[in-house]
């Protein structure tokens, strides 16, 4: 009987986390939409949406705390709840990155439009794709899928470096559009962090499913199993 109640709690936790994931993803999409369309109203939507993200974050933490205190979970259940707490924090940070991007987009919308050599939408698609895939791995308890996410981080880092170099060059060559170049550079940095959060989420999924800590390992290093 008690276990049934516990299982209901775990299901509710998972459901809320997916809702949180949906909100965070949507926030980044809207922020990029604001950037592409130069529509300040799209940025406002991101600012307003942040409140719901923060609210769901708190709900998840409260529920996780209740389950830890009242059900004393162990083994796979304990790893699941720990993973949820960490994924939750990462998703909230994704939401924060979306707000930062929306602020830059609003700034850009107020400046003259200039053509810059930076494919922000492509970088955004890769970064949010990582978060989406990591959450998909979470839904399916699929550590192999989560493992694939870890491989994508390098390409996002490369895109960020390319955009950074291009924007630095732009600022030197054309000081008149320096502010636009700086905003774009900052957006690329925010997206790179979104990808980092995707990586963290994928690592947490692997921890939950396999009980192995794969954080801070170079490529090809075997994962450390728990004691």
């Amino acid at each position: 009987m008690t276990r049934t109640r516990f299982q209901l709690g775990l299901d509710e936790l998972k459901e809320k986390l997916l809702r949180m994931g949906g909100l965070a993803e949507q926030a980044v999409d809207r922020a990029i939409e604001a950037y592409s369309s130069r529509d300040p109203e799209a940025s406002e939507k991101v600012f307003r949406g942040e409140q719901s993200i923060n609210m769901v974050e708190r709900e998840i933490d409260e529920l996780a705390l209740d389950l830890l205190a009242m059900q004393q979970p162990v083994a796979v259940d304990l790893r699941f709840i720990l993973a949820v707490i960490k994924v939750n924090a990462d998703l909230e940070r994704v939401g924060d990155q979306a707000v930062n991007i929306a602020e830059r987009a609003r700034d850009l919308a107020g400046l003259p439009a200039v053509e810059l050599p930076a494919d922000i939408p492509r970088m955004a698609a890769t970064a949010t794709g990582m978060v989406r895939q990591a959450l998909e791995a979470f839904i399916r308890a699929d550590a192999d899928l989560a493992q694939q996410v870890l491989g994508s981080d390098n390409s996002v880092d490369r895109m960020k470096r390319e955009i950074e170099a291009a924007m630095m060059a732009q600022m030197k060559q054309s000081p008149a559009s320096a502010r636009q170049a700086l905003d774009t550079l900052l957006i690329a940095r925010n997206l790179e962090r979104v990808a980092d959060h995707g990586t963290n989420i994928a690592e947490d999924v692997i921890f939950w499913v396999r009980g192995a800590d794969v954080r801070h390992l170079g490529p090809g290093t075997p994962a450390t199993p728990l004691p």
Binding site: F6, Q72, P73, V74, A75, R79, L226, P227
Partner: protein
Amino acid sequence: MGVGMEARDLNAWFGPAQVLHGISMDMAANQVTAIIGPSGCGKSTFIRCLNRLHETVPGARVEGKVKVGGSDIYGRSVPAVEVRRRVGMVFQKPNPFPTMSIYDNVAAGLKLNGFRNRRELDQIVERSLCQAALWDEVKDQVKKKSGASLSGGQQQRLCIARALAVAPEVLLMDEPCSALDPISTSKIEELVFELKKDYTVVIVTHNMQQASRVADFTGFFLLGYMVEFDRTERVFTNPADKRTEDYVTGRFG
């Protein structure tokens, strides 16, 4: 110091029914080893094989080896009484001798073995009661008060003192807290933590949180087999066997 204990290919029967199947397990010296598993899994039978109590049940028998500090307790010419002195046991329900004083309860084992030196006996009784974390609560009335007049938790600590008085090397505990309230339980758990400095402790428990709190190693038994044996952290964070995981997470048992 406690000595290590090892069970090798241990099988046990009640009449024709085999209740333990080929259990091999090392119980490390000065460590706490917990045995967990659902009712009827053989955990109590196992622990009763470790001091030759199982064979006292009519029709019951044991095959295999149990070594304490290297010598087999089932070896020829090893007297069961000597085994039970080296391997002490505390049971589920506190069972002090009801008519004896606290003092006599602790001294009983020694007196039975012909120990008569009054001063030394006093010292051993005091030391045993101290080790069992009971001395401070009873020191003014050890000879006046009967064992049965103590609270349940105190009675259980008295039984622990009684077991320690004969200087065992291993202490077996068969669900020692199942009849106790949470405060008494936590006292016994703290005591187990202290006792392992001097003894090797093997504890059978129904309470998985208790195993995770007190034990360095945990063995999971199911239907007379040992399914998994590992460091306690591992058993409760990432067990290797699906059946262990189902049991510790409460999905069956």
